[in-house]
Structures are given as structure tokens and as C-alpha cells.
């Protein structure tokens, strides 16, 4: 009798755990669904609105920082650690996330990243990466984040996000749109662009085009290691941030005397030095 009771308890416990675990799971018809469970907190529109509200609240700030994070694909835990650290940096007013949030384009990957993005205290702006457009990632991107190209202004500087994923999209970047968005740069402190991929080696003329449009800095990811370069004949700096997997992120500091970029981990930062690249345009 005693042993029967013990077996009964074991079965009951198992069934209880079984039912509880089942209630925690989602009913999914395939890995390729597009209804990623992300809150509006991560959408581009919501973050532009938040940044405007913040700017109205703090007024004019001649010194502030921007955190730059990239390629959190398949490392949501490390991304979480970086966001938690950035949350402790009082001068960071917003975050740029330069693409490859997902690796294979399945919605679960987006949901993990959203979970982390939702924890950011500052507004966070994602730009689409090449991996984000795999499978049905373009659909998920549109539903969760919104546009692939967009811009916003903060403290008299304009930040322009553009899609330059040539393998997954046609006619990118949209140069007409970029030219339109960069107009009026002479009245601004800075015009900065950010995209996932730095100007492609076979299309480095883009750097000259951006320079001609009045762009002051390009911010990118994709290469999974820090870099900071400018073409010798162009002199438009392009900053490339390391990947989340390598626990790297960048800090852009803007102050009355100019801007600096730092290559950081959660433990240390060092000033990035721009290097010249020789290239015949």
C-alpha cells in the first residue's frame, strides 16, 4: 500500500509538471511563422517618440553619448549583459543596433532579441541586417520594427538609418531617399548615417557619395570586429562595431569640441583611432 501511494504521488507530480510545462509552451505551426511576440516598445516609431519626449524633458545638451551595438544574432544572453551595462551609463541618451538581430530569420530569434531590447532604458533604434532578411525575416521586421530606412533628429544632429543589404534587397541603398534626408546638413551639428554593412569593397564610391551629401560619420556592423577607417581621398570616417558574441560595443561621445568613438566591453573602453585606406575611386 505504501509503495502504491508513492507511485501515485510520483505520477501525480509528473502530470502536474507536465501540464504546467505545456501551458508555458506556444502552439506553433512551423518555425517560419511571422507573428513574433515583441512589444511596441521596440518599434522604430515608438522609440522616435520616446527620444523626442526625452529631448523635450532634458532640453539642450551639448554633451551626450550614443551606444552602438551590433550582430546580437544567437547570443541574446551576451546582448542582455551589454544592455544591462549600457543602462548604467548615465550619459548614453540612445542606442543604435546595427543589424543582424537574427541569424536564420526564424521568429524565435527575434523574440529573444526583443526580450532584451525591451529592457533598454534608453530609446533603441535597430537597422536591418542581411541575416534579418532571411526566410520571412522581412515580414517580421516590418511588423515588429517598421521601416528599413528612417531618420530622426536629436540635439540638432540627424541620424539616418539605411538598408544596404544588397543580396536580400534590390536597389539599396536608396540614394534618392538618402539625398533627400541629408538635405539641410549645413544647419545641423552633425549628419550621421548608420547601416548594417559598411560600404561594400566593390562599391566604395558610396563613401564619396555620402560625403558629398554632407554626411559626417557612418556607423556599421556586420564585420564582427572593431574597425574605424576612412578612404584617403574621401575623409568620411566609417566606424564598424564588433559583434555581441565578442562582447564588444561602441560609445559615440558628442561634445562641443567634436565627437569621439570608443571600442568597449563591459569592463573597459579604448579610444578608436581612424585609419586611412588607400583606394582609387
Amino acid at each position: 500500500m505504501f509503495f502504491n501511494m508513492k507511485a501515485l504521488k510520483a505520477k501525480f507530480t509528473f502530470l502536474l509538471v507536465f501540464v504546467f510545462v505545456l501551458t508555458g509552451c506556444d502552439y506553433e505551426v512551423s518555425p517560419w511563422s511571422t507573428d513574433a511576440d515583441c512589444s511596441n516598445r521596440v518599434s522604430i516609431d515608438a522609440n522616435i517618440k520616446r527620444l523626442k519626449e526625452y529631448e523635450a524633458q532634458v532640453g539642450e545638451r551639448d554633451t551626450y553619448q550614443v551606444a552602438i551595438i551590433s550582430d546580437p544574432q544567437q547570443y541574446p544572453g551576451t546582448f542582455d549583459d551589454i544592455i544591462k551595462h549600457v543602462n548604467t551609463l548615465p550619459e548614453v541618451d540612445f542606442i543604435l543596433l546595427t543589424g543582424d538581430l537574427a541569424d536564420t530569420g526564424v521568429k524565435a530569434e527575434y523574440e529573444w532579441v526583443c526580450k532584451v531590447m525591451e529592457k533598454a532604458k534608453q530609446p533603441i533604434f535597430a537597422v536591418i541586417g542581411n541575416h534579418d532578411a532571411l526566410a520571412f525575416g522581412k515580414d517580421i521586421w516590418a511588423k515588429v520594427f517598421g521601416p528599413e530606412d528612417y531618420s530622426f533628429t536629436y540635439q540638432n544632429s540627424k541620424f539616418i538609418a539605411y538598408n544596404d543589404n544588397k543580396y536580400e534587397f534590390e536597389n539599396v541603398p536608396d540614394r534618392d531617399w538618402l539625398a533627400q534626408e541629408t538635405q539641410g546638413d549645413e544647419t545641423r551639428d552633425y549628419t550621421m548615417v548608420f547601416s548594417h554593412i559598411p560600404p561594400w569593397d566593390f562599391e566604395l564610391t558610396l563613401s564619396q557619395e555620402l560625403k558629398d551629401m554632407g554626411v559626417d560619420l557612418g556607423v556599421h556592423g556586420h564585420e564582427h570586429s572593431f574597425d574605424y577607417w576612412q578612404l584617403t581621398g574621401v575623409q568620411l570616417p566609417h566606424y564598424v562595431v564588433s559583434s555581441t558574441k565578442k562582447k564588444g560595443f561602441g560609445i559615440l561621445s558628442i561634445n562641443p569640441s567634436g565627437y569621439t568613438l570608443e571600442n568597449c566591453t563591459n569592463k573597459t573602453c579604448e579610444v578608436a583611432q581612424v585609419r586611412n585606406r588607400d583606394f582609387e575611386l
Partner: protein, 189 residues
Amino acid sequence: MSFRRAVVFIVSLFSAVGAWADDEDSGYLDVQSGSLMGLVHASYGAVFAERHNVMVGVGYVPKLSYHREMMLYSLRYRYDHSASWDIAGMAFKPFSVGTGLLIGDHSDLFLQLPDKYPEGYYTPTAFRIVFNYQASLQVTPQLNAYFDMSILDVGLIGYVREPEFFNDNYDYLGLEGIANWGFGARYVF
């Protein structure tokens, strides 16, 4: 062309599975819903060495607001543990585990890297590996109903690589962040 090859491969396996089975009576039809296998997924399965199962199947997802219409093809293996509990006169088998290859058939997915990409640039997006757990109830000698919980390859990799993230952000030891459920039934011929 790649998908055609996949279909031909899976159809060929149907006959092979039948030929390798323990005996003529060990084949069964499995119909499942959810757990990443489609709105409906029909498989033919056969038992080997009493507890080992191989299934080949075809699934379907209709056009939904959150999903493109597509066919799914699968090749799966499952191990049924012998543990069995009697519940209201029916045998409850709480432990079956398995794994399978799932192929999604849609023009936006690829098995072979399209020519526009450099060699090795991406891994194929059309197939995924799924790991699953099942608990089943023997309703009649021929009919078996089950619950299924599945985990996608990227979910398992993520969970093993960064368990703290899932533990900290999801319930049930973090499984909530990676597990999916479904249900189904098997009819033994």
C-alpha cells in the same frame, strides 16, 4: 528542383521504412498538429526493435495572417521508453523522445544556396532540426493519442550556450522561451 529531390527522397523512404519494419503489423499512421510540424502533418511510421520508430511525413500550413502557405516534409526518429502507467484503464506512456529533419517548401526558403550568394555565405534556410518529447495515451489497442513538445535546433543551441538568459527571462527553467506544443494521434494498421 531541390524540393522535388527532397520529396522524392521522402517518398522513397516511405517504402524503405515499411520494408525495414519489425513485421507487417508494426506500421502506423500518425497525424499531428502544431509543435512546428504544420497545422496538420501526416506521417507513416514503423517500429524497429520494439521501441525505435522512424516516420516520414508531409505537413501543410494554409495561408494565415502570420504564415505563408507552405508544405512541410519530415523525416523523424523517436524512442519510446517502456514505462507505462495505468490511468482509467488506459496505458499512459510518459517518456518518448525523438528528433527529426523538417523541410519547409517555399520559394523564399532555400536548401541549396542561390547563385546570388558567395559559396558558404549562409546555411540553408529551408531545413531545420527539431527535437521533441512526447507523452501518449493508449486509447484503444489501435489508437494512441499524444501531446508533443518540440524544441528547434536554434533554441537548443541557444539554451545550451546561454542557459542563464533563458532561465532569467522565461519560466519553467527557461523552456518557455524555446519549447512549443502540439498534439496528435497514431493509428496502428
